[in-house]
Structure formats: structure tokens, C-alpha cells
């Protein structure tokens, strides 16, 4: 199993698409930073226009913490989409090039092979989100400096600079769980569909539907609490004035259970199916 994982990591390191993934993440980050640099002050003014009549604002609200928060919001769609495309490719490329047949012609168990794919996919997802977080913190603080954070979440919430820093770190860590869920879903879709284009399309539809369903009230308490799409936003909860830790723990644990279930489905399907590229 460890040798399979090492081989998978070696292949990922050598593939040019890994570089494209990293580049895509950094481009999104750069795009947000450049936009904020040129237009951020105007947007902040527009957002706080009414409040300025009643309150006095000191310091610069267009600071590193706000930029980090804006980049954090790429966890809604951009980052999971990139991750789903890259990670499903870990398997679909093996089907396309038929290398999966050459691998399975070696004394390798199907279970260990697919488990190693899941383990490496999860590790890759964690690495990407952490890379995004670290680079975002470094670049944002370097260019914009530190300051208090203003966030609109059911109303405007203000957080002191140090408090904002902690909340942003926790949000990224919680976001890892959501990203891992989407990555595992995409790999399972790759197991089922085998074809890269079909997997990308279905992954994108899954992500869009998941985001839409998050906002829909099912008029059913159990569904509203337990349905998977209602669990992928726990990282946003760190920006309520009082952090609802119990809800965050519950959502993360339940989402982790969904992740394991999706992974199990993928493993069972892969094990039962014949290997044909």
C-alpha cells in the first residue's frame, strides 16, 4: 500500500497537469488580489455608505484580512471545481491511456490500488488548500497589511485583527473537509464513468447542484440538517459574531461520514468491475 501511494505521488509530481492545477489556484488568488487592489476601496465605501452616517470608521478596512476572506470564498466554487477536474483525472487518465491495465497486470490488489488513489487524492486536496491558505496569508499581509475584518453574513460583522486571523485559519481548516468531500466525489465519479469528459461534466453539475441545494429550504428539518449539500458551508460559520462550534463540529463530522460512504461506494464498484480501459 505504501509503495502504491509513493508511486502515485511520483506520477503526480511528474505530470504537467499538476503544475496547471497549482497555476490555476495561484491565478485565482492573484486575480482577487489585483481586483481588490484597484477596486476594493470603492466596494468597501459602497458597502459601508449608510453606516458612515452613524459610525466613525478608523483605520483601513481594505486590509490583508479582507483579501484573505475574499480568497477564502473561492472554496464555494472555483477551488472545488479545479480539484474535481484534477483529481478525477488521476483515474480517468489511467483508463484513457490503458495504464490501469498495465498496473493491474502486476501483482497489485484492486483494493490497494483504488485505496491508494483515494489516499493520494485526499492528501493532494489538503496540500492545495493549505498552499492556498499559506500563500494567501503571506501575500495579502505583505501587500495590504493587517487590520480589522468586516464581513457581511446575515448583517455586517466586525472582527478585531487578531480575532479575524484566528477565524480565517479555522475557516481554511474547516474548508479542507468540504474540499476533501468534493474531491472524493469526483474520484468516485471517475470510477463509475471512467471517461474524463463525462466525469468533468457530471462533477461540475454535482458542484453546481450542491451549491444550489445549500440555499434551498427543503421544508423538512431532517433534510435541512442532514442532507450532504447542507454540510459543505461549515467554514462560513466562523464569521458569525458568536461561532457556533457545536454546529460546525456536527456538520464536519457528518460530512466526513458522507465522504467515507462515497469512498466506500467507489471502492466496491471498482473492486467488482472488470478492468477494461
Amino acid at each position: 500500500m505504501i509503495s502504491l501511494i509513493s508511486a502515485e505521488i511520483y506520477k503526480i509530481r511528474k505530470q504537467s497537469k499538476t503544475l496547471y492545477a497549482l497555476a490555476a489556484i495561484l491565478i485565482i488568488e492573484g486575480f482577487v488580489i489585483v481586483s481588490a487592489y484597484y477596486q476594493g476601496a470603492g466596494i468597501i465605501d459602497l458597502l459601508l455608505d449608510n453606516l458612515k452616517d452613524s459610525f466613525e470608521f478608523k483605520g483601513n478596512l481594505l486590509n490583508g484580512n479582507l483579501i484573505i476572506y475574499l480568497i477564502l470564498n473561492s472554496l464555494w466554487f472555483h477551488i472545488p471545481l479545479i480539484l474535481m477536474i484534477i483529481i478525477s483525472g488521476f483515474l480517468t487518465s489511467e483508463y484513457k491511456d490503458k495504464t490501469i491495465e498495465t498496473v493491474m497486470l502486476q501483482p497489485v490488489s484492486k483494493l490497494n490500488f483504488i485505496l491508494s488513489k483515494y489516499v493520494v487524492s485526499i492528501a493532494f486536496t489538503i496540500f492545495i488548500v493549505l498552499l492556498l491558505a499559506v500563500s494567501t496569508f503571506l501575500v495579502s499581509y505583505w501587500i495590504f497589511g493587517r487590520g480589522d475584518l468586516v464581513v457581511y453574513l446575515d448583517g455586517l460583522n466586525f472582527f478585531k485583527s487578531d480575532d479575524a486571523f484566528n477565524r480565517l485559519i479555522l475557516a481554511f481548516l474547516s474548508g479542507v473537509n468540504s474540499m476533501v468531500f468534493f474531491s472524493v466525489v469526483s474520484l468516485t465519479l471517475a470510477v463509475i464513468l471512467k471517461d474524463a469528459t463525462k466525469t468533468w461534466i457530471v462533477s461540475a453539475i454535482f458542484l453546481i447542484c450542491s451549491n444550489l441545494l445549500l440555499k434551498i429550504d427543503f421544508q423538512n428539518e431532517i433534510l435541512n440538517e442532514l442532507f450532504f449539500s447542507k454540510l459543505t458551508d461549515s467554514w462560513q460559520y466562523f464569521f458569525y459574531y458568536k461561532i457556533p462550534y457545536a454546529t460546525i463540529y456536527f456538520k464536519n463530522l457528518l460530512l466526513l461520514s458522507y465522504t467515507i460512504l462515497v469512498m466506500l461506494i467507489g471502492v466496491i464498484i471498482f473492486k467488482r468491475r472488470d478492468i477494461q480501459g
Partner: protein
């Protein structure tokens, strides 16, 4: 007995691809599986290699090594973005084998490739990929290798080189080799035993030379003055430009050749022509 399959059956929906296929292979021998396209050769090989499961029947392999059987199905599938060394490293690593420099050089030389090349496998010719695929198949010393259409797409030099390599593996390393092809000439001088597959069934099996001899329906004789030969007229040969086709029915070819020489015809070659319909069975 190195490998034995007993009554292998496989269907895809209502389509029966393999019907009670039984083959027996001995150590160090070369076996040919011959048949027209779509007769189930690749499916049988996929089953032998464990890529797909048979519906019924059994496979016995008498090998206790880490890798009892290796092979290539259709085209060699390698990581095109990796070099030969990196490919062998990945495939060795996943089966718990450490690819040392010495082992890499030995693997490459065994299949007639230069260990000095460091570029991506995408740049390799099909013949070189076949050889590298064979090097991957031979990792961990399997007792048996299965090669599905290994000569497909190779030039004559490539075919000759692969023939020599397969013969070497069989004679020097005592590896059992099973090869499939739909081109008879590729297997005639290579295989000890042939199995003929038709519509998913083994319809003939036996010594390659004998099976091919039984399927010879005509001889192509090349020589001078064949058009004026009385012997050719007697055996009702179809005389073409500098050659003649003689039906094998009711004639003894050695006697015909002797008579031709006595008649003064300069015979330069006599090639038996295998009738594919006779060999492969009805379509």
C-alpha cells in the same frame, strides 16, 4: 503443466464470447492462439491475466512466484510522460521491487533497448514501446507471459527482433509464452503448439507445423519456363508470371518438384500456401 484453463466461458449479455475454452501450456514452450478478429482471443487473454473474470471455468497456474503471469494486452500501455527508467521504477515500485541501476540496465538489455535514453516514452516508436512493455511484463520474473497481437504495427525488422527475443525467453529462461495473432505467418516458425479459436471455441489444436501442413491447399512454385512445362499442365496448375499455383489435392509435392527438375524447369522456390478458411474454420 505450467498453465491450464478448463472450460472457460464468458458472455457479454446475450453474446457468448468464449465457450468452454480449455488450453494446456508447458514450461518453456511457445503457444500460439490464432483466429480471425473478434473470435475471443483478447477476452481469453484478459481472463488469463486476471483483468476480467470468467463466468465459469477454472485457471490453474503452477507458479509460486510473486508474479505468476505477466503480459501485454493489445498495445503496450505505459506512462508516456515518464522516461523508460521512470516507467520501470513506477511499475517495479508498485509490486514492491526496488529498481536499482543494475536491474534497470539488465531489464533494458534483456529486451534490446538502450538504457542511455532519458527522454519521455511518448517519443518512442511502437516497436520500442512493445519492448519496454515486455520489460515491464518481465519484472519479478513471471513463469509465463501472455502477448496479445505483439507484432501488430511493427515493421519487418521489428517483427524479426521480437521473434528472437521471444525465442530467447522461452529457450534460455524457460518462460512459457502464449501469443495471439490473426496473421498466420507471424506464428508459423515461432510456436511449438497452436490453438485455433473460432467464435469463442477452440476448434483445433496441435503441433504448429502439423496444423499448418493440414491447412495447406496450394503450393506456389517459382521458376523459369513454368508456362511451357508439361508437368504443370498435368497437375492443372494455374500458371502466372514466373510462378504457378498447384493444388495440394491428390498430388505429392515432392514428386511434382522432382518431375519439374527432370523436365529441365529451373525451380527457385516452393512455398506452401495456408488456406485461412481451412485453418480458422467456417466464418
Amino acid at each position: 503443466m505450467m498453465l491450464k484453463t478448463r472450460n472457460i466461458c464468458k458472455s457479454y449479455g446475450s453474446l457468448e464470447v468464449l465457450k468452454n475454452v480449455t488450453i494446456e501450456c508447458h514450461k518453456g514452450k511457445i503457444y500460439g492462439l490464432i483466429g480471425a478478429n473478434g473470435t475471443g482471443k483478447t477476452t481469453l487473454f484478459r481472463i488469463l491475466l486476471g483483468l476480467i473474470k470468467q463466468d465459469s471455468g477454472s485457471i490453474e497456474i503452477d507458479s509460486h512466484g510473486i508474479k505468476p503471469i505477466g503480459g501485454i494486452v493489445e498495445k503496450p500501455a505505459l506512462y508516456g510522460y515518464l522516461s523508460a527508467y521512470e516507467n520501470l521504477k513506477v511499475f517495479a515500485q508498485i509490486q514492491g521491487l526496488k529498481l536499482t541501476k543494475e536491474l534497470f540496465q539488465q531489464c533494458m538489455r534483456q529486451v534490446g533497448l538502450s538504457p542511455a535514453r532519458t527522454d519521455a516514452v511518448n517519443n518512442y516508436s511502437l516497436g520500442m514501446k512493445q519492448r519496454l512493455g515486455l520489460a515491464v511484463a518481465l519484472l519479478n520474473n513471471p513463469a509465463c507471459i501472455v502477448l496479445d497481437e505483439p507484432f501488430s504495427g511493427l515493421d519487418p525488422m521489428g517483427i524479426f527482433a521480437l521473434h528472437e527475443l521471444i525465442k530467447d525467453l522461452s529457450s534460455k529462461k524457460q518462460i512459457t509464452v502464449i501469443i495471439s495473432s490473426h496473421i498466420v505467418s507471424e506464428l508459423t516458425d515461432l510456436c511449438d503448439t497452436l490453438y485455433v479459436l473460432n467464435k469463442g471455441e477452440i476448434i483445433k489444436s496441435g503441433a504448429a507445423a502439423q496444423l499448418l501442413e493440414e491447412s495447406v491447399t496450394t503450393y506456389k512454385i517459382v521458376g523459369k519456363n513454368l508456362e511451357s512445362s508439361e508437368v504443370m499442365k498435368k497437375v492443372k496448375a494455374v500458371v502466372l508470371d514466373k510462378s504457378a499455383l498447384v493444388s495440394s489435392k491428390n498430388i505429392e509435392i515432392t514428386r511434382v518438384l522432382k518431375e519439374l527438375i527432370e523436365e529441365g524447369v529451373e525451380v527457385t522456390s516452393c512455398v506452401p500456401q495456408t488456406d485461412l478458411k481451412t485453418l480458422f474454420g467456417p466464418e
